[in-house]
Amino acid sequence: MPSEDAAPTLDVDQILADPGVRIVVCCGAGGVGKTTTAAALALRAAERHGRRTVVLTIDPARRLAQSLGLTELDNTPRQVKGIDVEASGGELHAMMLDMKRTFDDVVLQHTDPAKAAEIFANPFYQAMSSTFAGTQEYMAMEKLGQLHARGEWDLIVVDTPPSRSALDFLDAPARLSRFLDGRMLRLLLAPARTGGRSMFSFVTAGFGMFSKVVQKVIGAQLLTDLSGFVAALDSMFGGFRQRAEQTYRILQARETAFLLVAAPEPDAVREAAYFAGRLREERMPLAGLVLNRVHRPAVPGLSGADSLAAAERLAQVGGHEGTVEVLRAHAALAQQAVREQGVAARFTEAFPTVPAVSVTAQPADVHDVDGLRTIGAAIGGR
């Protein structure tokens, strides 16, 4: 396989077994098997390396969630039963992220109950906690920070949200800070800080024009709700930002390993390359690339073209229909493998030092622990 010898081979077992590694973050485009990869790695860490592991999943397929014993979104880690940890002494726990509840918890932690109740009732909070672009990413980070702070786990494996872009996960804290530091927010806060007078009582020339527009467009009720929300939020600013920055620093530390997950398709590989570039910029520890769903012919010596030519010859002779079908199927597989190598090479050419491992496509989808174990073994390379 000419394109594969460019990159060093990724040894996930070395990462999973390393007691210095406390967090593994799986990231990549949607639809590349990120959640399955995270679950398979977590299972392997528990069964093979004896680590007390928790996997934080964001939006698992229903049957995969069931296979881990996750029947509801309850935001607390549940131990996964029926796995093979007798020899290793490891444990596997799994949880699904409940975005809204995590946000509520953060609010409760940073303010008194009366104020929290006021915040929960505000329509802007309701909108923001369930739909804010980036809330899911931010809350995943928050949950990661919480799990890490509890110190109960040897290893936390995180599946990142199926974002518009994999980068959203990294950008969430910065976006939140920008939002909280925004000039707009300061302006809206001014009345709360100057004793509750109308936000428009201290107008500057530019702002006068602006306030006229705002009142015209969104109406007085909306403004009242908005200043109420912003004022309530004000008390929590410091805490919010501090935590986001803390988690960000944890992600930069040596105890973290980022694994890019991709499939040999142009979009997924492009996304992985963007992400690798970003991790480098942010000085975050990129451990390697897991390339899922790779097709590999079982008879590599027979090329697609030769196989197809032979199939056509046999078809003309007649009497070998079964073999013709087999040869055509092999030709399609061999050609696909060549194409996939070309796509994967785009990543290795751009990042020749990033270790990579290819995982052969499974004929059927995975939704039980045995299937996860098989995937884990394939990623581990045995």
């Binding site: 485009a29 530019g206 467009v217 027979l302 059927a364």
Partner: protein
């Protein structure tokens, strides 16, 4: 082009004027949306292909520079049609909207300077969606004198996980704006999206998760009252032929007749490939049956071995428009 060669009026097969294309991430919804815009433009019509997520997926697909917030010629369609493209940006849409209704001028620029727009669309994501869909509505219903500007508008919409919330603009904004222009705007958008002028198409692959999400999305869309159009299976291979498993002896004879090696490794290797293939095909068939149960028109687009290039898009476009 002679009149007899005129393709069937799209009204026959794709009756809506606004086509919303969604699907799980990774199913190729952008390619399908582009192919649909191309197919519906064929034969001298004009269509608009719109994206709303700032991904510049259309530019990547067509290998052009990033699209601005401006309707631009994208490509010519077979038979003299034209596809135009537009990347809607919420901030620009808000300024345009304010300008249209309030003649803002300098005040609009002031809004931007204060970060008001970033703030507004951050704190109230429903507002962002109203602006995005509002622009789509405007393009769909625009006319120059007697003639509609676009025969069809195709929206490369957010993925299945977010589509219900994205389209359900009234619910999202009703929470925040009880009266006023935002409320009116969202009601206008909602009326169009729930009318027969709109069809929401769901793109899937013959894989378990995309099919599950398709089923869930259609249930959600139906419950919210949005007209569901077609289920589009992308990258489909034809159904399994009622073949039987080939025996090792049979395969050995065949390989010998073709002048290929007949050693044990080759024979077992090829047998294993054939068996895996069979397992995969049977799974695909059962997923296909699951999709058929939805009772929606199903369109299958062929797997393009070479990826989606320009010729590939035309292949998909032809397959889409041909489908009844």
């Amino acid at each position: 082009m002679a009149a007899t060669e005129q393709p069937a009026e799209p009204a026959g097969t794709w009756p809506a004027r606004l086509h919303v294309v969604t699907g799980k991430g990774g199913t190729g919804k952008t390619s399908v949306a582009a192919a649909l815009a191309l197919g519906l433009a064929a034969g001298g019509r004009r269509t608009l292909l719109v994206e709303v997520e700032g991904r510049q997926g259309i530019a990547q697909l067509f290998g052009t520079d990033p699209l601005p917030y401006e309707e631009r010629h994208l490509t010519a369609a077979p038979g003299g049609g034209e596809v135009r493209a537009l990347a809607v940006d919420a901030e620009e849409a808000l300024l345009e909207y304010l300008d249209m209704f309030y003649k803002l001028g300098a005040a609009g620029r002031a809004l931007r300077k204060f970060g008001a727009i970033d703030f507004a669309t951050t704190i109230a994501p429903g507002l962002r969606d109203v602006l995005l869909t509002g622009k789509v509505k405007e393009a769909t219903t625009r006319s120059n004198g007697q003639r509609r500007t676009y025969d069809a508008v195709v929206l490369d919409a957010p993925p299945t996980g977010r589509i219900g919330r994205f389209l359900n603009v009234t619910a999202e904004t009703a929470r925040l704006a009880k009266v006023g222009p935002i409320k009116n705007q969202s009601e206008g958008v909602s009326a169009l999206l729930r009318s027969p002028m709109t069809a929401v198409h769901v793109v899937t692959l013959l894989e378990e998760m995309p099919v599950q999400e398709t089923v869930d999305a259609i249930a959600e869309l139906t419950q919210l009252g949005f007209p569901v159009g077609r289920v589009i299976v992308n990258g489909a291979r034809p159904p399994v032929p009622a073949g039987r498993e080939v025996t090792a002896a049979e395969l050995k004879r065949g390989l010998a007749a073709a002048g290929l090696p007949t050693d044990g490794r080759t024979v077992t290797g090829l047998t294993r490939e054939a068996r895996d293939q069979q397992v995969r095909r049977e799974l695909e068939d059962s997923l296909r049956a699951e999709l058929a149960e939805l009772g929606r028109p199903l369109v299958e687009l062929p797997l393009l071995p070479g990826g989606v290039d320009r010729a590939g898009l035309e292949t998909l476009a032809a397959a889409l428009v041909r489908a009844d």
